[in-house]
Structures are given as structure tokens and as C-alpha cells.
Amino acid sequence: MSILLIAEHNNLNLKVFTLNAITAASKIDNEIHVLVAGNKCENVAKEVSAIPLVKKVLYSDSENYENFLPENLTPLIVKLSESHSHIIAAANTFGKNFMPRVAALLDVSQISDVIKINSSDEFLRPIYAGNAFASVKSNDKKKCITIRPTSFEPASTSGGSAQIEKIEAVEAPTISKFIKREETKSERPELGTARIVISGGRGMQSGDNFKLINSIADKLNAAVGASRAAVDAGYIGNDHQVGQTGKVVVPDLYIAVGISGAIQHLAGMKESKVIVAINKDGEAPIFSIADYGLEADLFEALPQFLDELNKLNTIQK
């Protein structure tokens, strides 16, 4: 057995979810080979070679891989998969994009969004937006797996010295073209990896009122999230959405403000370590999963919350 793990990066730096996927992979086998495919991404290959759990870095440099178009990456991954038993990537928009293409060409049924590795062929994955967990066994010779990153700790990034092997690029079809990427710029930590997340829902009543959330986020160095209702109402951009159709977050502290707790939202945050709910409706379902519930008008509670935080001598960052 050996694992082919596809690294996510931006040609300069490795993206952190690759580290979570490496930890998951290490529960299957020790022979972990990481593919770094990109354009002028030697730095990333070096970064990966320092990860102690990685045995070998497969480094393929080509303009065709610059923007990670799945049409271009897939032929390379399929070719490299010949000598590997498991093909693994993170279950984010990067891994979800190409892995099914790889699986289909290998005639393999992919296992998506794995949250626990039971053995080399048995896995646990959420279905119905996390309202049920399914234990599944793959009977395919090769396994194509995507890993839910927040279910595994990130692997250590220093101390290793894996060999870097250069891999010839594979001819790519010219059927797709990258135009542009508009990254959401924010001074705050990224939603997917923040230690604290504070989210607003429909109860915020307007986009302007999100400034109440933002000032607390600044104080706590927290990321700002939102329910689908708040996004659909136009209060905040969709890249802030937490839930089944948005991002899945597992922070140390999740503060839900004016969020009733629809199934679809809970699916994105209920694994958080500590959950706080602030809502004026005492019957809101969010209270049934909150560690600390405050039944209050958020327009009174949030300014008080900020005041209380300002009174503290120290705040963990």
C-alpha cells in the first residue's frame, strides 16, 4: 500500500488543509507520497518535504498546472495513481473539484468527506448534512478519498526531509481556461481555520448591524460567519456562510447571534468545542446545542458583550 496525496497550494505556500489530510492519510499507511503540481512552485515542494509524515514529494512543474484546472490535473494524477493504493485530498472546493474526475477515470467509487478512518478500506462519513453518520467499506481495488479537514489535526510541518522527485508533466487537454480569482480580503482570520467564530443570522436585521459583530470579532481576533438566512437577505457576502451549503467550521468557540439554528446551519458548526447562543427567542433550536445560552435582545447584549470584553485584562488570541 502507498498513498498519493494531492497538495493544495497557491504556487508559493502550502494550504493548511493539506496538513489535516496528511494526518488522516497517516492512519491508513506510512508510505505517504505528496504530489505538488503547479507552476514555479519549488518552494511548496520544499515546504512539503519538511513534513515528517511525508515519505516522498512528487514535484511536477508546468504552466498547465498553474491554476489547478481539474481537466489538466486529472491526467497527471491518474498516471501517478498506477503505483498507489489510495488517492487522497482534502474535501474542500479544491479536492471536490478534481477527485471525482480521477475516480471516474479509474472506475472507482469515491468516498467523500471522510471524518474517521476505521481501516484501510473502512471509513466514517456524514450524510444528510451530518444528521447521520455512515460507516462504509470500499470494495474497489484503489480508493479515492476526500478528507473533511476539520476532523483531523494538522500534521507537524518541520523536522522532515523527504526526497523530492521531479515528475514530468502530462499533456493537458485545452478545453478550459483560467480567467481570474477574486479572493476575499480580510484582516481577520480565515473562517475555516479561526480559533473563534462569531456569526450573525436573520436577527441582525441589516447588513449595517453586522458592525456590532465585527467589533467583537476584532476584539477576540475572531472570524465572522453568517447563517444562510443572513446571506440570502444580503446582509453579508456568501463567503461568510456557515452551514451545509457553506463552510464547516470547528473553532474552540462559536458564538451564534440572532441565529435560530436551522438544520442546515447546525451542520456547519455543531462540532465546535464551545457554543454560545444569543437569541431573544428562548425556544430557538440553537439553544438545544449551545453550551451557554443567553436569552436576550442582541442589540442590547452585543454592546454589553463588547464592554465586558474591554474590562478583561487579558484575552487569549
Binding site: A104, S109, I127, Y128, A132, S176, L294, F305
Partner: protein
């Protein structure tokens, strides 16, 4: 331009699912079923392209038991021209579904295939990408905006970092995100008219496609329940608990 739209019948997104006591799956008896939500966006986008004169014909296809036909009928009521229902009594994995859809694509020769980005039952997020690979076509997944430009289509995709724009050659596969558009409701006259639109019925057995399942479902269980917490009386009590008890701030 001809558009094929694939739709799936799933447990309605508002229903709290019930897990069967023997752990063999989810109870679907007497449960409200609906079209998979992003599949509604897929139909809507196809209908919009037809209304703008860019598409001539929309074919809606589904795979599933007898009642799955309702999903096609709904697509016809909001603007699809005809339907295809491939009958199958058993669960088929996304790989098998992609192989069946490939057969339909080869027969119908559409320029575009629209699918929802993910089904809300098995949450696999695979079928569109698999179909694209099997056909050797490009894909635009998680589409939140599309613009048809002669022989190519520009797709804005919702990715973790924000938005990404790509240009893909036709024919192509598009998987639709919920923010692509606002699906319309079918009007009563259109529901009546849809009853007269044709739905071709095929049996999955007659398509000679390998739909053998490769994944064995061992057990379906409840996720671990969170313990109910406490209610605090004031903001100061909340901050004190977070600081001294939970130690998270």
C-alpha cells in the same frame, strides 16, 4: 443550443430525517420528498437560457423509482420541454449514475448539461465531475454565475477563497450552486400544461451499463449528541463563564 438537466428526488430539506432502528439506512416511508435543492437552480438556469433565445430545447432527466418521475414533471412545469425517466428500484452510486447519464448524453447530444452541485441525501458531490471525466468534457463546478459566449461559456465558481472565473469550451458540464439564481415556482396553468409534455421511460437494465455498487454501507447511526448546556442570566455571567469555566477567551 440544447440543454440536458439532471434532477434527483430526495427527502425534502425541511424534514428531520429518521434513522432506521436496525442501522440499515434512513427511513423514507411516508416522508415528504422534493427535488434536490440545487437541481432547482439547474432547471432555472436552463429555462433562463431558453427565454433569452440561447437555448432551443431543454430535456430533464432523472434516475430512480416510479415516483422519481414527479421530479421530471416539476421540471416540465417550470419550462423543460420533455423528460426522460430511467427506472431503477435500487440505490445507484454516483459513478453508476454518471455512466447512465453518459449514455443519455450520447443519445441526446446536448451542448450543456446542468446538474446540482451536490445531492442533500448522500452529500457525495461527485456526479457532475464524474460525468465530465467520462465524456472528456470540461466542467464548471459550484457555479454562481454563467455567461454564454458563442462556443465557450464563462463560469464564476464559488471557491473557499472567494470567487474564481473560468472559461470552458462547449460541450460542457455545469454544476449549480444555490446562489446561481432564484428558482421560480410553477404556475397552475403551467403545471396543467406539463401533464401533456412527454416523458420517455427507460429501464436501467436495458441500457447495458455497469452500475454495480462498489461501496458497502455497513451501518448508519446517529451522530453523537451534544449535551444541552446552561442558560446564563446576563452578559457578564456569560463572559465570566467563557473566561473562567470554558477558558476560551
Amino acid at each position: 443550443m440544447k440543454i440536458l438537466v439532471a434532477v434527483k428526488r430526495v427527502i425534502d430539506y425541511n424534514v428531520q430525517i429518521r434513522i432506521k432502528e436496525d442501522g440499515s439506512g434512513i427511513n423514507t416511508d411516508n416522508v415528504k420528498m422534493s427535488t434536490n435543492p440545487p437541481d432547482d437552480n439547474a432547471i432555472e438556469e436552463a429555462v433562463k437560457l431558453k427565454e433569452s433565445g440561447k437555448a432551443k430545447e431543454i430535456v430533464a432527466v432523472t434516475i430512480g423509482e416510479e415516483k422519481a418521475q414527479e421530479t421530471v414533471r416539476k421540471a416540465l412545469a417550470v419550462g423543460a420541454d420533455r423528460g426522460i425517466h430511467i427506472k431503477s428500484e435500487n440505490y445507484i452510486e454516483p459513478l453508476g449514475i454518471a455512466k447512465i447519464l453518459k449514455k443519455i448524453v450520447e443519445k441526446e447530444k446536448p451542448d450543456l448539461v446542468f446538474l446540482g452541485k451536490q445531492a442533500i441525501d448522500d452529500d457525495c458531490n461527485q456526479t457532475g465531475q464524474m460525468l465530465a471525466a467520462l465524456l472528456g468534457w470540461p466542467q464548471g463546478t459550484f457555479a454562481s454565475k454563467i455567461e454564454h459566449k458563442n462556443k465557450v461559456i464563462e463560469v464564476t465558481r464559488e471557491v473557499d477563497e472567494g470567487l474564481e472565473t473560468i472559461e470552458i469550451n462547449l460541450p460542457a458540464i455545469i454544476t449549480c450552486d444555490l446562489r446561481l439564481n432564484e428558482p421560480r415556482f410553477a404556475s397552475l396553468p403551467n403545471i396543467m400544461k406539463a401533464k401533456k409534455k412527454p416523458i420517455e421511460q427507460l429501464n436501467v437494465k436495458d441500457l447495458s451499463v455497469d452500475i454495480s455498487n462498489r461501496i458497502q454501507q455497513i451501518k448508519v447511526e446517529e451522530p453523537p449528541k451534544r449535551k444541552a448546556g446552561i442558560k446564563v442570566a446576563s452578559v457578564s455571567e456569560l463572559v465570566s463563564k467563557l473566561k473562567n469555566e470554558a477558558k476560551v477567551i
